[in-house]
């Protein structure tokens, strides 16, 4: 065989890739769902859409960057309180302002937490970050629960709807499509990030942080950036959720919701952006169905807990692990394409 007849590298092995197919199917369902479901269910699904952004924020931290955060609700709830205060004290209700404000609150608070936990002189242990974020979330929950100006344990209700100009955005189809559009933007932005050369650093970091430091990467800076970006998404989610529910309370920034964010990610499968989507839909749907069954009404959370435990314990890659290979989960960032002869080996 002549040199020129040899392929330089085998073309990247590309078996059927399921992730793009599932993405398209879910996108179509996202667009079409309100046409086929009741208004009541539309509100339920809207809640899922908003919580999916919270779950994605966890996945960016743990699934993509190896930061075990048990405090994503902190940014979610903090943004919720800020937009609720703006609504109730100042009368500001406009979507164009509420969304950026929620993002900014999430970004700033997560940056401060990340600065403290991640940017120290020594690289923090996973358990230090997990406990640090958990403590921050718990402390914030206790703080607002005892603070009368923000409603203390009763939380704060918002009595007005989110506005687009003069249009009132009530929970329903219009709110659904706004939330869906924001989710698509968040998903695509996150996808762009994790598939970029920056994402390659994250993929390397998950496998061997030490090696990357010896290449010259300042790992903790990359972690702090992802942590802050994820916090921004959690803040956006929290602002939207507060208007959708018309309420924000201590539980919105506490450890229960933070733990739910973890479970959404782990159940659906971390390290893929689809995992959190599937995790939220699965957990919320199972909970919704079980809570309505007379026979299990009083103990359905136990059943849900057992299901979560079984999947997380026996399938660490979550539900996505049943569908996609490890290789597809991580993906490729570059492909050898030049037409040259096979290398000279040595000598």
């Amino acid at each position: 065989m002549s040199d020129t007849a040899l392929s330089i590298g085998k073309p990247a092995r590309r078996p059927l890739r399921l992730i793009p197919i599932v993405e398209v199917v879910l996108f179509v369902l996202l667009i079409a769902a309100p046409l086929f479901i009741s208004d009541y269910l539309t509100v339920i699904v809207t809640r899922m859409i908003i919580l999916t952004m919270l779950a994605i924020s966890f996945d960016l931290c743990w699934g993509y960057s190896g930061i075990m955060t048990f405090g994503q609700a902190l940014y979610f709830g903090m943004a919720g309180y800020v937009v609720a205060l703006l609504a109730n004290k100042v009368g500001f209700l406009q979507l164009w302002g509420v969304i950026p404000i929620g993002m900014l609150v999430g970004l700033v608070v997560s940056f401060l937490v990340g600065w403290f936990l991640l940017l120290g002189k020594r690289r923090p242990q996973i358990i230090f970050v997990a406990l640090g974020t958990l403590t921050a979330s718990y402390a914030a929950e206790r703080l607002v629960a005892g603070w009368g100006w923000v409603g203390a344990g009763n939380g704060m209700s918002i009595f007005d709807f989110l506005m687009i100009g003069d249009y009132e955005l009530e929970p329903g189809k219009a709110f659904y499509y706004i939330a869906a559009a924001i989710l698509v933007i968040v998903y695509l932005a996150s996808r762009y990030l994790v598939r970029s050369q920056f994402g390659l650093v994250l993929a390397g970091m998950r496998q061997n942080e030490d090696r990357l430091a010896f290449f010259g990467y300042r790992i903790q800076v990359f972690k702090a950036l992802v942590f802050s970006f994820a916090g921004m998404i959690a803040g956006l989610s929290g602002a939207l959720y507060t208007y959708h529910e018309g309420f924000v309370g201590p539980g919105s920034m506490g450890i229960a919701l933070s733990t739910y964010a973890v479970l959404y990610g782990l159940f659906g499968g971390t390290g893929t952006l689809l995992g959190p989507v599937i995790g939220v839909v699965a957990i919320e749907s199972i909970g919704f169905v079980l809570s309505d069954q007379e026979i299990v009404k009083s103990f359905w959370p136990i059943i849900l807990g057992v299901i979560l435990l079984v999947v997380v314990a026996y399938k660490p890659t979550g539900l996505m692990g049943f569908m996609v290979s490890q290789r597809e989960r991580i993906g490729t960032f570059g492909v050898a394409t030049a037409k040259r002869a096979i290398g000279p080996k040595a000598g």
């Binding site: 590298g9 970029s196 920056f198």
Partner: protein
């Protein structure tokens, strides 16, 4: 002036004095071997130079700068790179992506987010794959490569950022004789590009490629000189005949 100046470096782990007042000088574009019996402190010295451990005493200067207390990523930025003793390629990335990851280190976050440098680095990566005989495994996961190929990939990764000094910890560990010979052939042309400090147990291999040797024993420099000088050293012969 030497590229690397190690002066009086000491390192203690609990009660073990792993390095004790070690002096080593490495000139640019030379191959410098660190040899010695097991436990003599070779790998510890290499890690102290790379920044995986920090020296308890003494100083390390690289290219005129004091790097004694510098974290590894800063040392890498100055042109100092380490290939680990245990192969540390990224197993779940392709060979190509391993090289891309190494090549793009040091670029700004914004450049990486926008994937601006991938195209510009492509030819360089392909050249490296060709040079290290990995072209036909370019799109395979690093974990699917043979041990020898993983070692070559890691050396290739270490060279992607064009370091001034490459530290190799047992680059032929676990290789067949053929692979060792091939590794030597791969390393020789690097002398035009950078200096090497090599820790290696295979004395024939190290004698073939190194200009200068430092022999360590129990954390101290036993002898230092050219290959011929070390071969003639009675102190070294004594250690190797009695302890190795």
């Amino acid at each position: 002036m030497a590229l690397l100046e190690v002066r009086g470096v000491g390192k203690t782990f609990s009660a073990l004095r792993a390095l004790d007042g070690v002096d080593v000088s490495v000139r640019a574009n030379t191959f410098h071997g660190l040899i010695g019996p097991n436990g003599s402190g070779k790998s510890t010295l290499l890690k102290a130079i790379a920044g995986e451990h920090f020296a308890d005493q003494g100083t390390i200067h690289f290219d005129g700068q004091d790097i004694t207390a510098m974290p590894p990523f800063e040392r890498a930025g100055l042109g100092l790179n380490l290939k680990f003793q245990i192969t540390a390629v990224l197993p779940e990335l392709s060979s190509y992506d391993n090289l891309l990851l190494s090549a793009q280190a040091g670029q700004s976050v914004w450049t990486l987010v926008r994937s601006r440098s991938k195209g510009a680095l492509h030819d360089e990566i392909m050249d490296s794959l060709e040079r290290f005989g990995l072209m036909d495994r370019a799109n395979d996961l690093a974990s699917e490569l043979s041990h020898g190929q993983q070692q070559w990939l890691e050396i290739a990764m270490s060279l992607m950022r064009k370091p001034l000094l490459l530290l190799l910890d047992e680059p032929t560990g676990g290789m067949s004789p053929e692979e060792r010979r091939a590794t030597g052939d791969l390393l020789l042309p690097i002398k035009r590009q950078c200096a090497l400090v090599i820790v290696e147990h295979d004395l024939d291999f190290i004698k073939d490629i190194c200009d200068h040797l430092t022999v360590l024993d129990q954390g101290r420099v036993l002898d230092d000189g050219t290959v011929a000088e070390i071969e003639a050293s009675t102190k070294v012969q004594e250690v190797y005949t009695t302890r190795v």
